[in-house]
């Protein structure tokens, strides 16, 4: 049964991918990409990777697609006819694909419990992490503690993306008066519904943030969801009002603050005589220390991701407004 679901999903993915290659309408291509991300999130669920599925659904099907649509609004939705010969790319792809298929021939069989991946490093995570770190969600334990340095790097990557987008697009602040009349301003229904669901979304984000130790979730997903709440607000009420709620400058400081919060845990553990990011040293009891460490760093991740995602949306949004005026 599980194989059947898997196979159907993979088949749908293949059709979607072919659609992306063939179609010339970029709007359709981007929507297909959203579908592709969502389908792959379903595959991740069926392969037991619930945390990954959660992230892929909120990031791939959510943020990435929104950003691509925002770009399309600025660049036009039609792809021009391509005069390039597509023979060379096809050849490169065929060679790469052949190499990969060759590589799969010696791969450990799919799903077998005695594969090297399941025998060498992972058993300690599965058997010891509930005792050593004290969390039921092993993904969170590994992410935040064993491989906490990776996650610090990941947070910095997000921060670097914000630096890149800000330097390229900047956020243009304008007075409310000369803001263009947004079509959505007239939507009485939308205003009411948005007021109703924005608190719900923020509440859900907080749940995901602090429940990540026990179930799927964590700072990254929570940050994206919280950003989605504010993006909805900005879409319905217009950017100038959103700027008054959370100003772009404040978001920059928040993005930096999240990274610093994460790093400060590492510095504090160094001052307590441990290695960088050694949470055992944060409290007298190592398990309690791990708890404090993970909660604080997840908070740092959440703050940075929230601030960065919202700033990126602001940057794209203010570009769109600027081009509307023109």
């Amino acid at each position: 049964m599980a194989e059947l679901i898997d196979l159907v999903l993979l088949g749908m993915l293949a059709i979607t991918a072919i659609g992306v290659i063939v179609l010339k309408d970029l709007f359709a291509v981007v929507m297909l990409f959203g579908i592709y991300s969502f389908l792959s999130a379903l595959i991740f669920v069926s392969l037991d990777a619930v945390d990954v599925a959660f992230t892929e659904a909120s990031v791939g099907a959510g943020i990435s697609t929104v950003l691509m649509l925002g770009t399309l609004a600025l660049t036009g939705r039609k792809e021009k006819e391509n005069q390039h010969s597509s023979l060379l790319p096809l050849l490169v792809v065929l060679i790469t694909g052949a190499a990969l298929i060759y590589g799969t021939l010696d791969m450990p069989p799919f799903g077998a419990a005695d594969n090297p991946v399941h025998e060498h490093v992972a058993p300690r995570y599965i058997e010891e992490s509930p005792k050593e770190v004290g969390l039921p969600n092993m993904v969170t334990s590994v992410l935040a503690s064993y491989r906490g340095f990776d996650t610090l790097g990941e947070t910095v990557v997000v921060f670097a993306a914000a630096v890149g987008v800000l330097s390229l697009l900047g956020v243009v602040r304008r007075e409310e008066d000369d803001a263009p009349e947004s079509g959505l301003k007239e939507h009485r229904v939308l205003h009411v519904v948005a007021k109703l669901i924005i608190p719900m979304i923020i509440l859900f984000a907080l749940y995901v943030q602090f429940h990540g130790d026990f179930g799927p979730g964590g700072g990254f997903q929570a940050g994206v969801i919280a950003a989605a709440a504010f993006i909805l607000y900005a879409l319905v009420y217009g950017l100038p009002l959103a700027f008054r709620v959370v100003s772009p400058k404040f978001l920059q400081v928040m993005a930096a603050f999240g990274v610093l919060l994460y790093a400060s845990v590492g510095l504090y553990s160094m001052s307590q005589g441990g290695q960088f990011l050694d949470y055992n040293k944060l409290a007298a009891d190592p398990i309690a220390g791990q708890h404090y460490g993970i909660i604080i760093i997840e908070l740092g991740v959440g703050i940075t991701v929230f601030a960065v995602m919202l700033s990126i949306f602001y940057a794209f949004g203010s570009q769109a407004e600027r081009s509307n005026i023109k």
Partner: protein, 109 residues
Amino acid sequence: MFVLDIISAIFLMVGVFFGLSGAIGLFRFPDFFTRVHAASVTDSIAAIFIIGGLLLQTSFDLNTAKLLFILLFLMITSPTASHALAKSARHGGQLSLSESKTGQKESAQ
């Protein structure tokens, strides 16, 4: 339990049927507004049936509550999204089929 399973299966089937008919409508209907209509109305009923079917599969615990929340959320957002879509289309100058036909006739006369 067996009865519940059968009811749940029927619910799921009905939900899938509505979802599918909505998809067909999305492709077959002639203009923008009828398409939105097809997609949104069937979508809502499909969501009710599918989540109802899933509710019967749970053992009335935390998952039940989560599913109910999802249902509530869908009931609020899905019609709103359709409404916003249709209204924006109107705002952007989309005409329904009948309107555009009369428009053509008028211009022809």
